[in-house]
């Protein structure tokens, strides 16, 4: 079977909306409902965060969601149990995103086999070094047809972008700013002046822009530059406010997308 991320990009090259949320937040059992709500929404891709005690790359919003999720009792075993039957209702590509230590302690091979078993299509581990990927992750993920997505920034050197593009599967994650998640509002000016260098170095993968994408405005800006964008912190804030996930998630994604057409 073709990987669902590849299938998505084969069919659709523009205005991809990826939504990130933390597993087990706001309540332990919300993971499934949020996932199904996203399936019914205008989101194209779903990234589920594996909560970690010390998320170095994350700003306050995702940090807090991780701590709440951990207090709720979320862990990888439980997450895989919650995702066990997701492919009955969810057809969209699903990625897990987290920190390498969680995967190491679970067991690298066991982790990917569980991902494959429940139908996870891709993995994002921002602190996974390229060399480490080649040594311990590449063989097994290729065998299981799981895509490992790498991140680049506009300050990443062109040669390294080429290497990361080559190693990356599904898409390449382009950071809009030098910041932790949720840190910067919007896409910084300097990003626009530097992004063409990145685009010239990327030949294999579609590009999704993430960090600082809060809503419709940044999303549409990002879609003019790349194949789409990722919303994380702003979506978590929505979940914190929401009393009706189905309705609010549908509303949120549709606002992000429909206004794009109007504007």
């Amino acid at each position: 079977m073709q990987n669902r991320i590849d299938a998505l990009f084969a069919r659709k090259k523009q205005d991809i909306l990826s939504i990130f949320f933390t597993a087990g937040f706001p309540n332990l059992k919300d993971t499934g409902l949020i996932l199904e709500s996203l399936e019914e929404s205008e989101a194209d891709l779903v990234e589920i965060g594996i909560p970690f005690s010390d998320p170095l790359g994350d700003g306050p919003v995702i940090q807090d969601s991780s701590l709440v999720a951990l207090k709720n009792g979320m862990n990888l075993n439980l997450l895989f149990q919650q995702l066990k039957d997701m492919r009955v209702t969810v057809q969209k590509p699903v990625l897990l995103m987290g920190y390498l230590n969680s995967v190491m302690q679970f067991g690298i091979e066991k982790f990917y086999r569980q991902c494959a078993a429940v139908g996870v299509d891709g993995i994002i581990l921002p602190d996974l070094p390229l060399e480490e990927f080649k040594m311990y992750h590449q063989r097994i993920t290729e065998e299981l047809n799981i895509k490992v997505v790498f991140l680049v920034s506009v300050d990443t050197k062109p040669e390294r972008i080429k290497q990361l593009d080559e190693a990356s599967g599904g898409f390449l994650y382009l950071l809009s700013s030098n910041s932790t998640t949720g840190g910067v509002k919007g896409i910084p000016e300097q990003f626009h002046s530097k992004v063409s260098v990145v685009k010239n170095s990327v030949t294999k993968n579609p590009l999704l822009i993430g960090f600082g994408i809060k809503g419709q405005k940044e999303y549409s800006q990002a879609c003019e530059i790349a194949n789409g964008a990722v919303i994380g912190s702003a979506f978590i804030e929505l979940l914190t406010r929401s009393h009706n996930f189905r309705k609010d998630i549908a509303g949120f994604t549709s606002i992000v997308k429909t206004k794009l057409i109007k504007s």
Binding site: D54, N101, M104, D127, L175
Partner: protein, 401 residues
């Protein structure tokens, strides 16, 4: 022969490496490519050695502690890192890194601190060099090491209280790394121990290696031989120990002893004895031994000593422990407090609580009569006076009742 130095890829055996988000890749790579080159230049060495001599006050004395020697029935020398400017070994590393930061054209310095000694050292070298300094410190530590907070502020540093986790060193380090991610171009991260992504552990160990270099020369003068039988040092991240061990690593006859903080006991659930209760994983950009649960969530450490209250350990120590080149033991809060009181009475030296852990280990090692023991007295105890006074009041009260 075994190799104890870092490999070209940044590893000690399987420990070390650089596990950082992509935004920091350039910074870490720049450091990796430049630190050896810059440090080896004559210009750098002249400036570094000159400042260590005239500003820090090196070499620090090697003091034959006769009363302590008598108590333990052996020959004990104290390496007086407490007599450095600012009162601990931390300044050796801060001087080295600030010169490197200047060379790299950085304008803003960030640092994490536990006991506040590294924060004070960073604030000091920033004042000296006219650089902006931001120090991250857990709120728990701000309270228990208040004198150092006042010093940092007087030195012109901004002290940012950290409110996450147990509000101690691990959390301060998280916050410093987040700052670095948000300011990778302007900012140099001045790490205070042999932790963090490669090349920090090797670089910090290199700057601290002046400790063992001096010990060798001083022992030669005192005893006509360079090598002691033991070198004993406390281990938080492990920088004073790494510096005290450095030039003895390849003299396998020299027994190297690292002392971790057991807190209320290694099985009490309130401990910072990483090597006793930890396992391999990733913390602060480095693969090493750390305290974690079975899901890989980092567990909160505990020690009375803010400088040792850390759930990880430098990768070099994880490796030296694995290959048994060094032995690591742990001592409890109370054992450390008693050792501090003991040294103060016997030798007239009030040690830092961190260094008191190394002192408490003397009672746990079995020395022969004429063995030579070097104890690295990493810092002075001014910052811990309140803790000592409270403890003394408590035991006096107990005695009276």
């Amino acid at each position: 022969m075994k190799k104890y130095n870092v490999s070209e890829q940044g590893y000690y055996g399987s420990f070390g490496g650089a596990y950082v988000p992509e935004i920091l890749f350039n910074n870490v790579e720049e450091l990796k490519n430049s630190y050896l080159k810059v440090i080896q230049t004559e210009k750098f060495q002249n400036e570094f050695q000159g400042l260590l001599r005239d500003y820090v006050g090196r070499p620090t004395p090697l003091f034959h502690a006769k009363n302590l020697s008598e108590q333990f029935n052996t020959t004990i020398f104290l390496k007086r890192e407490d007599l450095n400017h600012t009162g601990a070994h931390k300044i050796n590393n801060a001087i080295g890194q600030i010169l490197l930061a200047k060379e790299l054209g950085k304008t803003r310095i960030i640092a994490e601190t536990g006991a506040g000694q590294h924060g004070v050292a960073a604030a000091t070298v920033c004042a000296l060099m006219g650089m902006k300094c931001v120090v991250y410190m857990g709120e728990t530590d701000i309270v228990r090491q208040a004198p150092n907070v006042a010093r940092m502020k007087m030195l012109g540093a901004t002290v940012v209280p950290v409110l996450s986790g147990n509000k101690t060193l691990k959390d301060a380090t998280n916050e410093a790394i987040r700052d670095w991610i948000n300011n990778p171009e302007s900012t140099y991260y001045l790490i205070g121990s042999v932790v963090g992504p490669h090349p920090y552990p090797d670089m910090v160990a290199g700057f601290q290696s002046v400790i063992s270099k001096e010990i060798k020369a001083q022992l030669k003068t005192a005893l006509g031989k360079e090598n002691p039988d033991y070198v004993v040092a406390c281990v938080g991240g492990g920088s004073n120990a790494a510096g005290a061990f450095y030039h003895f690593l390849y003299n396998e006859d020299v027994k190297l002893i690292g002392v971790e903080a057991a807190g209320k006991g290694i099985h009490s659930g309130h401990t910072a004895a990483t090597l006793s209760v930890g396992s391999a994983g990733i913390i602060h950009g480095s693969k090493t031994i750390l305290m974690q649960n079975e899901d890989g969530q980092i567990t909160e450490p505990y020690s009375i000593s803010a400088g040792l209250d850390y759930p990880g350990i430098g990768p070099v120590h994880a490796y030296l422990n694995e290959v048994r080149r060094a032995d690591y033991i742990s001592v409890t809060d109370v054992e450390a407090l008693e050792a501090a009181i003991d040294l103060t009475k016997k030798e007239g030296i009030i040690p830092a609580l961190e260094s008191a852990h190394a002192l408490a280990a003397l009672g746990k090692l079995k020395f022969k009569k004429n063995e030579v023991v070097i104890l690295n007295l990493s810092g002075r105890g001014d910052k811990d006076l309140e803790t000592y006074t409270n403890y003394l009041n408590k035991i006096n009260y107990a005695k009276q009742n």
